[in-house]
Symmetry: C2
Subunit: 344 residues, 2 copies
């Protein structure tokens, strides 16, 4: 049963390893019983001012290609019977390793010129969760957030304490230079000349990445990873590592957010969307619209979310001109999106 997954890993040439969880139906019989349950996955690579006239065709194609690789990586895990947790991690790893996105390699730089990374993951089945904030030497923060969830008594570890835990757990320590790219150094210099803080590219994009998946066992997981805001104050934490703000998953609903983190924390975006589904009895689409295009717009907050519900219904609401996004729905249909005017 592991063969397809193994081949998938090898074919991507990934060196990442993470332990599979006990809940991913190691029992083939149990898995086969459920093999017809629908699986689905949705990802984002950041929202913001993304305009067709400013994005050249080559760059757009590169984003769509990376998004396709990420969402496919996650979907193959699900199809092979893997857990939503593993699928979320597989998708996010592709985006953390791509320099296109503000997470892992290619993350934006803080005021001091360093990358400072946050990530979180949550599994709906038992509401287990893990998060790290302010790490500087861990190649894939989503793997460390996952390890906090599976191998510590804690949910959230920050800064040097998080890195000390990583070392104990056998993570490799990478230089902060690993994360830095020419493009991000130029962005920082440009913003520092104007003395601005931005979650943005030149085009004001929020580059956080995230994924939400539903597996054959009906478990929803969500995860988010980011470098935060360009030129941010050292020690600033946005919504990405905050359970209920940037990431939330329960049995009925999972959400990963991207946007102006301060507002997303105050609005408890991810949990609020799932709470509306649960307590108001509205659809995930209605709940997502109400929060992203209602509450957040009233607050003056830019951004969006991706989410899915227990039936595998996928939503990707955002209130900016674009959001890098992709999904493979329960019928197996792949879509990628960049601009607002593309239908979902």
């Amino acid at each position: 049963m592991r063969a397809p997954l193994l081949i998938f890993w090898l074919s991507l040439g990934l060196s990442h390893t993470f332990e599979t969880s006990a809940d991913t139906a190691a029992d083939p019989a149990a898995r086969n019983n459920l093999v017809n349950n629908p699986v689905a996955i949705v990802i984002h690579g950041g929202a913001g001012t993304i305009r067709r006239e400013k994005l050249n065709p080559e760059t757009e194609a590169a984003y769509r290609s990376s998004l396709t690789a990420a969402v496919t990586a996650g979907h193959e895990v699900l199809e092979a019977g893997g857990s939503s947790r593993e699928a979320v991690i597989a998708a996010i790893l592709v985006m953390e390793d791509s320099e296109l996105f503000n997470a892992g390699h290619g993350a934006v730089l803080n005021h001091e010129g360093d990358a400072e990374l946050d990530a979180s993951i949550m599994v709906g089945g038992d509401l287990s969760a893990g998060a790290v904030a302010g790490v500087r030497h861990i190649r894939n923060p989503i793997l460390l957030a996952d390890r906090v969830m599976t191998h510590s008594r804690h949910v959230m570890l920050i800064g040097s304490g998080a890195e000390e835990f990583a070392m104990e757990q056998g993570f490799e320590k990478v230089s902060n230079d690993y994360f830095k790219t020419e493009r991000r150094l130029e962005q920082l210099q440009r913003l520092q000349q104007r003395d601005q803080v931005s979650l943005s590219e030149a085009d004001d994009k929020f580059g956080t990445v995230g994924a939400v998946a539903l597996d054959q066992q009906g478990v929803i997981a969500a995860g988010t990873s980011t470098g935060g805001m360009t030129n941010k104050r050292y020690g600033r934490v946005g919504d990405s590592p905050i359970i209920a703000a940037g990431t939330y998953a329960d049995n009925n609903c999972g959400v990963s957010a991207t946007g102006h983190g301060e507002y997303f924390i105050r609005a408890a975006v991810a949990h609020d969307i799932c709470a509306r589904v649960r307590y108001q009895g509205v659809s995930l689409a209605e709940a997502g619209e109400a929060v992203i295009n209602g509450k957040l717009v009233e607050m003056g907050a830019d951004g969006g979310v991706v989410g899915l519900d227990a039936a595998g219904n996928i939503v990707m609401p955002f209130n900016t001109t674009g959001m890098y996004r992709a999904s493979i729905d329960r019928a197996g249909i792949l879509m990628t999106g960049v601009f607002a005017e593309e239908g979902e």
Copy 2:
């Protein structure tokens, strides 16, 4: 109009100062129009295994006396026309400065023998919020959380970054020794001999402090401050500085939590209670019961919350044998409580 407040501060001999906010009705006319609106405040000083036979009468009296001082400090602010934000801070300062509680002076010590402090505050009117985590040299973390809210572009600052911001803002840097007490050093040694992590006193008490207040303008604010768990891993963050988990306030509902923080994050306790009130239309009492004695008990999580709604109704549900708590309700009636069997 400021005279009563000033006299109050002077009479307590407090050296704390914090700026009053523009929203606290600097306009006496506006304030007078609303002067008959009910005010209310509720505080906690930690929940856990607190048994009558284990708490000697002198210690119990000391707790009740400190709780009374704290809740009265907050209430006097409200009666003088101050904001709920100022009232919450005034109450929490008394508990941070008391060595009885696990916050500020007298906070528990982490695995390395240091105090490492977290705090957060949220104002319901505009959903503004501030939080700090992992600070070691700031006498009153609640004041720093408040300053992050009022004087930074950010909501959450952690570790050295938070302290750097504090220095820029003119906060005094205190030695970590300021927080340490004989009792906490002994607790740490005892737990380290047993290799345990505890949010506890010898008696398994969660000593976080918090307050929720409703002011004459109808604005609800909530705040929480803690030293976290004795013998905790360096860098561990519990629910106290997490908006939606340990602290939440909107126009209808405010909550401050105390308990096993990892579970409180996963359950998004403070926001979940307020979401039930808003979306299910149940009373705050029902919502609090459902989360504290329903959901959290199912998860195996110990703790409690204090909260109040827009009408000034006060709740203090907990699922442990005791919770240090006090309130002054809209009729002006003071109560203090320690054990479960005391009526509210």
